[in-house]
């Protein structure tokens, strides 16, 4: 393995890694509230479930390069169209798991919460969402990994991140530079995955499950 580029340009690779992470987290920060709203609507209004889940699934099947090409006339290149694509792709994993998480909560528990006098907002924040979190966090983990992977491709439209190193390497036919990008992306994905798995352990549900 030719690690020359990584050794000689570690500052650049590190900076691009942070840029990649920032792009990915920004995309997640936009995608998650959107997915929670869509997920709640799809859960509460029963006839919306199928259309919403189908729509986000279909959007995910749009090939990424075609998606970027489609965005360029309206949004040009750079961070903005990249975020649009990442947020769209993330919806599949997020919405699917928000819906599954909310639906996994025992209706008897929700009826009890209502029967005790919680209003819909209290019910949602104190009971429904906490009980759905394990499934939602699993969705966040998958979504963030997908975002990190796709954020490599948006290097092609100059959105920053490790994709730029890789595409430059490909353009120069310089495998060592491509490899540096690959290693950094893989490292980022692995660390992110571990951190989110750790986070899952701190949800109230996980704590209760550990106790029993």
């Amino acid at each position: 393995m030719d690690l020359r580029y990584l050794r000689e340009n570690s500052d650049e690779v590190w900076a691009k890694t942070l840029e990649h992470l920032s792009l990915s987290l920004t995309a997640l920060a936009i995608a998650l509230p959107l997915a929670i709203v869509l997920g709640i609507l799809a859960t509460r209004i029963r006839w919306l479930t199928a259309p919403v889940v189908t729509t986000v699934s279909i959007l995910y099947t749009v090939p990424s390069f075609a998606f970027m090409a489609f965005l360029i006339p309206g949004f040009g290149i750079g961070r903005q169209p990249a975020l649009i694509m990442l947020v769209t792709y993330a919806q599949l994993f997020l919405v699917r798991n928000v819906v599954a998480g909310l639906k996994s909560v025992d209706p008897a528990i929700l009826e009890a919460a209502r029967g005790l006098g919680m209003n819909e907002l209290q019910l949602f924040w104190k009971v429904w969402l906490p009980l759905a979190t394990p499934v939602i966090i699993a969705g966040i983990r998958t979504a963030l990994l997908a975002i990190i992977a796709f954020a490599t491709l948006t290097g092609y439209i100059r959105a920053g991140g490790l994709g730029e190193i890789m595409f430059a390497g490909i353009g120069r036919n310089y495998p060592s530079q491509v490899l540096a990008g690959v290693i950094a992306v893989a490292g980022l994905a692995i660390v992110t995955d571990l951190l989110l798995r750790l986070l899952e352990q701190f949800t109230p549900v996980a704590r209760a499950r550990r106790a029993s």
Binding site: I109, A112, R114, G117, M118, V127
Partner: protein
């Protein structure tokens, strides 16, 4: 004796021409029901599945909304209040317990006091008192999570949680339906004890006639959305309104009947001798079947009836049993015998 005689911490519940028709159905689930439950009364709604008893119960805390009619709790028509505010004044226990699995037992019990914004100290004291009341020592159980408890213990928590906001009305939807027979009986006794202590008005749904008889001051027998009979357990068992009620409670069978009438309700009310030579005694909450068994075993025809605290309250004689079981008893007993010999 009905609950009207007791000092009461309960509300009066009045249903007026209450009807519920579910969308896309023709027959009403509840059809023009009017009845009044007195403050502190323990009323059991009894009937086969689909008779409307659960629908009726759940209209009282607005889980379901009536198609027409009114529900009054004391002087308030319940739809005049926001649903969440109404529900904080009504205890609610369901068969599946509905405990919040991600919250500790103490937080489950504190749900309604927190919604009512009690101060922290009052909530903590209330939670401890309630866990004591339902037989779960707080030092051992308060910090645990629901999945760590047995089914019976979970329903005790459900009961404590429902009582926490000091409700004057309790709604219970087959709360002991999922428990084994021994646990169920124990919890029934404890519910009875708690009710005597606090005297809230209780509406309790069951399809189990034994449970209804054990618990109820009065029983509402329902069928196809209508109230067929609303009376004391003894009246319902000895004077069923029609063939349906008679079948439901098994009133025709003498043995069944003796299994449904409690010693306390059959006892003549004669005060027992203080220095009694009668050695045999029986709990007032036992059924006549047990009393007969006791008499046969001991060769006596009178038993001293004890209350829950073991104090003698009255006396039960063979005549009392005969009277309670009814006039046709002799004839039907013969019939039972003939069926037996036919079987043998």
């Amino acid at each position: 004796m009905t609950a009207q005689d007791k000092p009461s911490g309960g509300s009066q519940i009045r249903l007026e021409h209450l009807t519920k028709i579910y969308p896309n159905t023709t027959a009403p689930a509840v059809d023009g029901v009017s009845l009044t439950v007195e403050p502190g009364e323990f009323v059991v709604l009894l009937g086969p599945s689909g008779c409307g008893k659960t629908t009726l119960l759940k209209m009282v805390n607005r889980i379901y909304e009536p198609t027409s009619g009114q529900i009054w709790i004391d002087d308030t028509e319940i739809h005049a209040l926001p649903a969440s505010q109404l529900r904080r004044r009504i205890g609610y226990v369901i068969q599946q317990t509905g405990l919040f699995p991600h919250m500790r037992i103490e937080d489950n019990v504190a749900t309604v006091p927190k919604l009512l914004k009690w101060d922290r100290r009052r909530i903590r004291d209330r939670v401890r008192d309630l866990l004591e009341l339902v037989g779960l020592p707080p030092d051992e159980y308060a910090r645990r999570y629901p999945p760590q408890l047995s089914g019976g213990q979970q329903q005790r928590v459900g009961l404590a949680r429902a009582l926490a906001g000091e409700p004057t009305t309790m709604l219970m939807d087959e709360p002991f339906g999922a428990l084994d027979a021994i646990t169920r009986t124990r919890l029934q006794d404890e519910l009875k004890r708690i009710h005597r202590q606090i005297s809230q008005t209780i509406l309790f749904v069951t399809h189990d006639i034994d449970e209804a008889v054990r618990l109820a001051d009065r029983i509402v027998v329902m069928r196809e959305g209508h109230v067929v009979q609303f009376d004391t357990p003894l009246e319902i068992v000895t004077n069923p309104a029609d063939a349906f009620v008679s079948d439901l409670v098994g009133a025709g069978d003498v043995l069944r009947r003796m299994g449904l009438i409690t010693v306390a309700s059959a006892a003549s009310g004669a005060t027992p001798f203080q220095e009694t030579e009668v050695e045999e005694h029986i709990s007032g909450s036992a059924f006549l079947r047990e009393a007969i068994g006791r008499m046969v075993e001991s060769g006596t025809d009178r038993l001293t009836v004890l209350d829950e605290d073991g104090r003698p309250i009255s006396e039960l004689t063979m005549d009392d049993i005969r009277r309670a079981v009814g006039d046709e008893a002799a004839g039907e007993a013969a019939e039972v015998d003939s069926i037996r010999s036919a079987d043998g």
